[in-house]
Every structure is written in C-alpha cells, then in structure tokens.
C-alpha cells in the first residue's frame, strides 16, 4: 500500500513542509526539505515520532521554587505523559547546577532528565 503525507519540520523556525511516501515498510522522503536535518526529521516523524521534553522539578531550599529540566534525548511521543508523571514526583535539594542529572534512565527509556538552570541555596 502506498501513501503520501506532509510533515512539518520542527527543527528550525522555517518549518519546511516535507512530503514523504510510505510504500509498505519502505519510506521515501520526496521533497520540501531545505537541509539534511529535515530529511532525518521527516523519516523519524513517520516511523518513530519523538519530542524533546522540557518541564520543571520542585526545589527545596532554593532561591527559586522550581528548576527547569529537559530530556537528554527526544522521548517517544506516546511515553511523554508517563515520563511527565515520573518527573512530577521528583524533588531536588538546592543548590543544583545546570547539567546535573535529576532522574537517570527515566521510565526505562534510557533517557536522563537534566537540569537546565542553576538554582542557589537559601538557608532557612
């Protein structure tokens, strides 16, 4: 069975509309991309859609109540809300530094959750 669909690339602000064709299990990226990253994105988006996840984690004794975090790699789309639940249960103690890992191998995805901001400790 052959089917064609249009994928909007989310790599950069341009947002290329890329046409892909599925022929059984064979996938062909036809046209519409402006760079190599677009070809790769269109392929992944069709076969195994993933998203970077960014959210926040509670901080104890910090100069901010939250610290922003991101996934070390894009997470399979269908697992996003499951991973979010895990992150919502986590909490860290200040100080935390940009780059620190908060959760290793979150929900057995092989992906880590990493701090994206430095939060200082405030003595209470």
């Amino acid at each position: 069975m052959t089917s064609e669909k249009e994928v909007t690339c989310i790599i950069c602000p341009i947002g290329c509309k890329i046409l892909v064709r599925m022929d059984g299990s064979k996938l062909e990226v036809l046209r519409g991309y402006k760079c190599k990253k677009g070809i790769e994105y269109a392929r992944n988006e069709t076969l195994d859609p993933r998203r970077m996840l960014t959210t926040s984690v509670l901080v104890k004794n910090g100069d901010w109540p939250l610290v922003s975090v991101k996934s070390s790699q894009p997470i399979p789309k269908e697992k996003l809300f499951f991973v979010l639940q895990k992150i919502q249960k986590a909490a860290v103690n200040a100080p935390v530094t940009l780059g620190e890992i908060v959760i290793k191998n979150v929900a057995d995805t092989g992906i880590d959750i990493i701090v994206t901001k430095t939060v200082q400790n405030v003595e209470k």
């Binding site: 909007t8 341009i14 947002g15 960014t54 922003s68 789309k77 940009l98 994206t116």
Partner: protein
Amino acid sequence: MINENVDVAIIGGGPAGLAAAVSAKQHGANRVVIIDRNSWLGGILPQCIHDGFGVEETGVSLTGPEYAEKYIEMAEKQGISVMQEAMVLQFDKSKEIIAVNKRGVHKIKADAIVLAMGCREKTRWNVMIPGSRPSGIYTAGVAQSFINLYNIMPGKNVIILGSGDVGLIIARRLKFEGANVLGVVEILPYASGLPRNVVQCLNDYDIPLFLNHTITCIGGKERLEQVTIAQVDEHMHPIAGTEKQIQCDTLLLSLGLIPENELSKDVGIEIDSVTGGPVVNQMLETTLDGVFVCGNCLQVYDTVDMLSIDAKRAGEYAAEKASVQKRKQKSNIRIIPRGGVRYVVPQLVDRPGIIPLTFRVKRPKENTVLLIHAGRKELFKKKMRWVNPANMIRIEVDISDEIIASAQSLEVTIDD
C-alpha cells in the same frame, strides 16, 4: 547622588542587553555596565524553559535558561558590571542616565548608550474585549512566569486568545501540568506563531485552533465563568449567529508585543509607527547621536538567535562610538517598505557597505519576488518560495558609494 562614568551603558539585561554588553567589551569598550530592573539577568529567558533557542546562531538547540546562562557566564568572565534591581528613570541628550536602586539615585555618564528594554504584552484593553471584569484573565507571558518560575497554576479550564508563539507554547505547558486547554482562538485565517509551534504545541495534543474567530464577550462575576467566541468575516467583524459559549475559568491573552520605548520617547528619539521601535540607521543608531538600540524594543523578533546577532552589532558600534566620538554624518537615505512589506529595519542608511536588512511581510504568500530599488535602479532581486508574517526575513544588500551619493530612498517591495 552617586556619580559614575562608563564607556557603554546598556539599559536592560535580557538577551539583547547581554549580547550587546559582551560584544561592546570584545570591541574595546572598557567600562561596560548593564542596568536591569530584575533581581536576575536574562530577562524573559529563564521562564522560557522549552528548547529551540540557539539553533540558527550555534546549531545547537538550547532551552531558554541554558541560553541565558551561556551569555551571563560570558558577561561575568569579561568583568561587565551589572546594576540589578535598578530602574532607569530617564536619560538625556548628553547621555547622562538617572537610575535608582536600593543604594540610592545614580547619575551615570556614558559615552554611548545601548537601549535593550525589551517589550511588554498587549492586554485585554489593547483590543477592547467587551464583558465583565472577573479574575482569571492573564497575559500568556505572565501565566508562563507563574507556572515556570513561581510554581503557581493560573487555572484549570483554559482558553487562549491569540496564536502567537507564547500562546502556543503556554498551551502545551498547561497541558503538561494537567490543565484542560479548550482551544486557541485566532482572528486571522492563519496562526501567528511559527509553524513548528503549531505542530509541536497544538497538533501533538489535539488542542483545537479556531481560525477566523475572536472572543466577543467575557462572562463571570468573581471568577471568569465563560467566554463567547464568534466567527469573523473578511473585515474581522464578528458574524451574527455564529456565537458559541465556552465554559472556562481562565483566559490567557497572546495578542502580540509592544516595544517598551517610554525612555526613548521622553528624550525625543524618532519612533517608527509600524515597528513601535526607534528609527535606526545601518549601525542600529537611533536619531539621537551615540544612542543605539537592539532586541525587542527595536522590533519584535521571532527568535532570540537573530536578536542576539543584531544586538552584538549594536554593542560593537556603541563601543566604536565610545572611542571615536565625532563622525562625519552624511545625509540619510530612507528605506521604505512597499507592497506586501510591512516594515524594514534599519529605516535609514548613511554610508556604503554590506547592510543587513530585516523585515516582515503583511500576509503569507507563495512564489513571490523580493525587489530593492534605488529610484529606477534595481539593487537586489530574490525569488521567495514562500513568505510568512511570523518569520522575520533577513537579507544582506551591498550599498555602493554611488547609491549613497545619489539615491533619495531605497524601496523594498514584495508584490501584494
């Protein structure tokens, strides 16, 4: 009064101010000071916890806080001084700044000033939405700071008016935090935000986008209870009979941004009525000698990358100005937007060279041609496969001595 002398004073410590400061220092300015009203640097970036920053500038996708820390670190390493929790009250033509913080009133004499005050969000009163005045109505950026900085959820059942990038990003964020996002209402026939944000913030989570719709009434006594949405015609007038009530407790407004230029206006700097930012020449210098401008108070950028690239230029030129005070001013040539072009920055050019032009179009269009003319002479021609108001366009044009000597104006045209 506390007196200080600096080479370059930068008003605003967001991404534009930081990039300008780092660049001014790199280009020889000795004493560089950033004056900012917050208790932190980076402006809006710490609350923009999503990624996608820096892709155009460095090829690496960073989150807002990471992008900010990169520049804050550079500023610290270079010994740039920072006045935090300080409010600039005014500055005058001699580039003397009056600022106030907890220590008192400061008089800062600068050889050059860079304006980097950013912008603020339009509110309900900018678009005059009828109805009652309950609580539960916020601008999208304020809601973003509640959720991402202060751990406060603005509400449970949320409707968003306006499909700018902040509105789209906050829709996804609310969804992640368990809110029910009932839809994004957009008066135009297309989304105002970037295509990638429509995909990854709305489509991914089946959040409806109501195009050609607006909110015609706000209802609720103490707390917001419902909004009425209606379809609009081609003149953006609500069509009678299409009204629909949506029960909700929170309304977020993503209606666009207004460059903050109260300080610029007070001192008599000419403002472009379309961009809301100062009129500048190719060196991003305002109509006041030695005062430069960058960031969202110059024009509302679509990405921080382009903003930083321009802000670095402003910092460089400010550093040059601080060392060489007098420059021969030639007469200015105006750059005029025509046809489908909404505005062009810079608005003035006074010397030859390769000049970056940034501009936006009025509406989306496919297969069109961008033309730049000096009188009858064609300077630049480029086929554009598609143009979109959400995507700022940046090109470089070579302006020759001959054009500077003879042209009255440059016209930038996209057929409309």
